[in-house]
């Protein structure tokens, strides 16, 4: 995902802003390939997997088997 997507993304639960943690970028430094999005209000954590943020509400998210 691109950083610009962060401008409009929000926590699916309470619609508050998300903060990016532990970001890993691609070689060009343009795409975030891994990291965590953390709700600035409720603290819920959403993973970025293969460059795609998973913003399913936590009860609908299941960990992909390794």
């Amino acid at each position: 995902m691109k950083e610009s997507l962060l401008e409009i993304l929000c926590c699916p639960l309470d619609k508050h802003d998300l903060e990016l943690e532990d970001a890993e970028y691609d070689d060009a430094g343009e795409e975030i390939v891994a990291g965590t999005l953390v709700c600035s209000e409720c603290g819920e954590r959403y993973p970025i997997e293969d460059g795609i943020p998973n913003l399913l509400p936590p009860d609908m998210r299941e960990e992909t088997p390794a």
């Binding site: 409009i8 993304l9 343009e30 795409e31 460059g51 913003l55 299941e62």
Partner: protein, 226 residues
């Protein structure tokens, strides 16, 4: 089975590509009607293979198109098919959209809306994320008037919403969207064999196939956020 499980399986079996091919027959006509301007941000809800979002970017020079899907495998496939850095994907659920209020110019959805667990809530979410004057293009093949689609429910574990034309308009208005248009978009591309080929494996009579594709087609309802 959950949406995630069901559609992860579909994605793994390559059904995303099969849908893309069939849905394109009518989707392209509805996409061509959208009033997208250069610089707009467009959301494709239930993007599957992501073909609609890619077409919107190519046609309109939208500044960004995001495909949202409840199936991680679908978004992974879609990302694989996509070169364009202005097209991105998000795993998320129709019932609680991870987008800020008024952050989207237009929402597109093909053959996906009726999987929403609570379609009314989903419409409210769409009305929330759309900026004033933004449109929601909602295209479905599964709807009440299309009796040929009714049997689909038997093949899937997710409960599907089967509204008729009036119910779509009413639900849009209940969620605070204006209704700007409703239309049947015919599929003129699917090959309908000559009469002597019937019954086929799927169709008893030619008239039924004509009604299904050329007349009923895809039900399009267009809402506008106030």
């Amino acid at each position: 089975m959950s949406v995630r499980e069901e559609f992860d399986d579909w994605a793994a079996e390559g059904r995303d590509k099969g849908m893309e091919e069939r849905h394109w027959h009518t989707a392209k006509h509805a996409l061509a009607r959208m009033p997208v301007e250069a610089g707009d941000v467009v959301l494709d809800m239930g993007c599957g293979s992501g073909y609609a979002g890619r077409a919107l970017r190519d046609t309109y020079d939208a500044s960004a198109v995001y495909g949202l899907d409840g199936s991680p495998e679908m978004t992974r496939n879609a990302a694989d098919y996509t070169d364009d850095p202005q097209v991105g994907y998000v795993v998320g659920d129709f019932g609680s959209l991870p987008f800020a209020d008024d952050s989207i110019d237009h929402v597109w959805s093909m053959e996906a809306f009726y999987y929403a667990a609570d379609p009314h809530q989903t419409l409210e979410e769409i009305a929330r994320v759309l900026r004033p004057g933004g449109t929601f293009y909602c295209a479905v093949n599964y709807y009440e008037e299309n009796s040929y689609s009714h049997e689909w429910q038997a093949n899937i574990s997710i409960e599907m919403t089967r509204w008729d034309r009036d119910q779509y308009r009413e639900a849009f208005r209940d969620a605070g969207l204006y209704v700007a248009e409703q239309d049947h978009v015919p599929d003129r591309e699917i090959t309908i064999p000559d009469a002597d080929a019937f019954p086929t494996d799927d169709w008893d009579a030619r008239e039924a196939m004509v009604e299904r594709y050329r007349e009923l087609g895809t039900l399009l309802t267009v809402g506008v956020a106030p």
